[in-house]
Symmetry: C2
Subunit: 161 residues, 2 copies
């Protein structure tokens, strides 16, 4: 059950989208994935790319991925945000998730980031236990606020900026 | 009690740092602010800037700010993240927070973002009520995971990437 980890490549995007959908299904949000392969290709590997990634492989088969981007913390400065860490279900337990997570940790260290951050669902106990095993801080006191695109598009702006 | 809103300028950074410290005090984390004016100048206004901002003023006095950056959502694509929205305590209630928030909403709309997101502490009821008044989704089911810089620096990496 050997695997390898390498930096993501544009040809991984089709596999990435499948993994993203697999995680959305697990997170009980199967209809939330609006992005396309083309969007992943552009935003991860285009001229103005916003995210970086690592890919886990067995032979030529993509079995997992980590997607991250740089964020700014007004407390700690430039930081690394781990957006997604996914290993396909039948390839779990061989250490690929651990290797992907540590690849992102090393990336954050090498970039001299003030922090590395991510989120986990409060009922996803295996993931919570995984992060706790690293001594990570897990803070439940923050609520996520959000507008969807359509809310932004239809909002009646009262002012001129 | 008139005020104006404009895009942030490099000369606002000294005031930004005071506002960031004021919010950290309010959020019961007075010792968490590690950044400097120079860091804000570089990351907000330097050649490789990562964040954007709006400033609220009365005359020449900075009374509030909003800091945001672009993030990537594997569900919705490029999105706007509102890192901080702060109005200094004795200038609250005149609409500056509302104007700053709507300026960021408009920025997200104009950039065609898939989402706008932020976080609020679960005990900060005035802020929660403020966001609810906009019909925002407030989701408490996610836990924030994080490593501080020193945890990344001292971690014993077992693998070569």
């Amino acid at each position: 059950m050997e695997f390898t980890i390498r930096k993501g490549r544009i040809e991984d995007c089709e596999s990435y989208l499948k993994l993203i959908q697999e995680l959305a299904d697990y997170e009980k949000a199967p209809d939330e994935v609006s992005i396309t392969i083309e969007n992943l290709e552009q935003e991860g590997f285009g001229i103005d790319a916003i995210f970086g990634s690592f890919t886990a492989l067995q032979g030529n088969e993509v079995i997992g991925m980590a997607i991250y981007y740089e964020k700014y913390s007004t407390w700690k400065g430039r930081s690394l945000y781990l957006e997604d860490l996914i290993v396909t279900e039948d390839k779990r337990g061989i250490g690929a998730g651990k290797a992907l997570f540590e690849a992102v940790m090393l990336e954050a260290k090498n970039r001299n980031c003030g922090r590395m951050e991510w989120q986990v669902l409060d009922w996803n106990q295996p993931a919570i236990d995984f992060y706790k095993s690293y001594g990570a801080d897990l803070d439940p006191t923050w609520i996520n606020g959000r507008f969807q695109k359509k809310q932004l598009q239809k909002f009646n702006f009262s002012q001129e900026i």
